[in-house]
């Protein structure tokens, strides 16, 4: 039921919390056009929202003079989302969150965004910009032709 074979959609967001919802709904619209199941669209929405929140908060440090780029590339059987900011990118990836450690005050209750992204999409990579900025996270979610 692919309405589109390949297409690219770009959105630029101000570095202000809440605007991740614009990227989230745009990604959901593209995924719906491509024929993704509703549950996978929900996975994508959370992953894209968390990637944008990281870009706004950590990459661009809430500097409203900087924007977050979101590039959605719809392929025949997968959707790639790049979320680009002006930060230096990730040097190390945080450890998987541990609810027991959080409940006992041994770990910050926050810090689950990257874990959620990894858990909800099929492929993810964090790429540091070679010039010390223009870093991005690249997510891929694939159409599951056998299901649904």
């Amino acid at each position: 039921m692919s309405e589109i074979k390949t297409a690219t959609v770009e959105v630029r967001l101000p570095s202000r919390m809440g605007f991740e919802k614009v990227a989230m709904s745009t990604a959901a619209s593209v995924a719906k056009l491509m024929g993704f199941r509703d549950d996978r669209i929900e996975d994508l929405k959370t992953a894209v929202a968390e990637a944008c929140i990281n870009a706004i908060e950590h990459g661009n440090r809430l500097n409203e003079k900087l924007s977050v780029g979101v590039v959605l590339s719809a392929g025949v059987d997968s959707l790639e989302v790049k979320v680009i900011d002006d930060g230096k990118g990730m040097k190390t990836q945080p450890a998987k969150p541990d609810i027991d450690r959080k409940m006992h005050g041994e770990e910050d209750p926050r810090g689950m965004g990257m874990f959620l992204i990894q858990a909800l999409v099929d492929e993810v990579e964090w790429v540091a910009g070679s010039d010390g900025k223009s870093s991005y996270v690249r997510l891929v979610i694939r159409l599951d032709k056998d299901a649904g």
Binding site: R16, M17, G18, F19, E20, K21, V22, D39, E42, D43, T46, A49, E50, I53, P97, D98, I99, D100, K102, M103, G105, D108, P109, R110, G111, M112, G113, F115, L116, A119
Partner: protein, 119 residues
């Protein structure tokens, strides 16, 4: 851009006769929801409240900052000897709460009636 989080408190009694305090949320649960989530919980009388039920049935969007607020609520409740349950999460957020381990510390139910019946 984020829809304001509203919260209100209801007092119910379970079929087994236990008083249950229901915290009902509406809107987004995100970093801006601290007062509506933690503030509403902290305003409850500690000694009198033993069973807390979180109502997410009117919540459409929860992000990782919102999940962190729920975890902070669970930490404070555990430290006060209170038990916390929740209902009304969409299938997606039920999956997310399960993935991050919240279900280990807060039982999830599909509906208020099923939650109350278990308390």
């Amino acid at each position: 851009m984020q829809s304001e989080t509203k919260s209100r408190v209801d007092q119910l009694t379970s079929p087994a006769g236990h008083p249950v305090t229901v915290l009902r949320f509406e809107g987004d649960i995100a970093s801006t929801s601290k007062d509506a989530v933690l503030g509403a919980y902290q305003a409850l009388p500690k000694g009198a409240v033993k069973l807390i039920l979180l109502d997410f049935s009117k919540v459409d969007y929860i992000n990782s900052s919102g999940i962190a607020l729920v975890i902070q609520l669970l930490i404070e409740a555990a430290n006060s000897g209170q038990k916390v349950y929740a209902y009304g999460l969409s299938p997606h957020f039920t999956k997310v709460f399960t993935m991050v381990g919240i279900t280990k510390y807060a039982g999830l139910f599909p509906s208020q009636a099923e939650a109350l019946a278990a308390l």
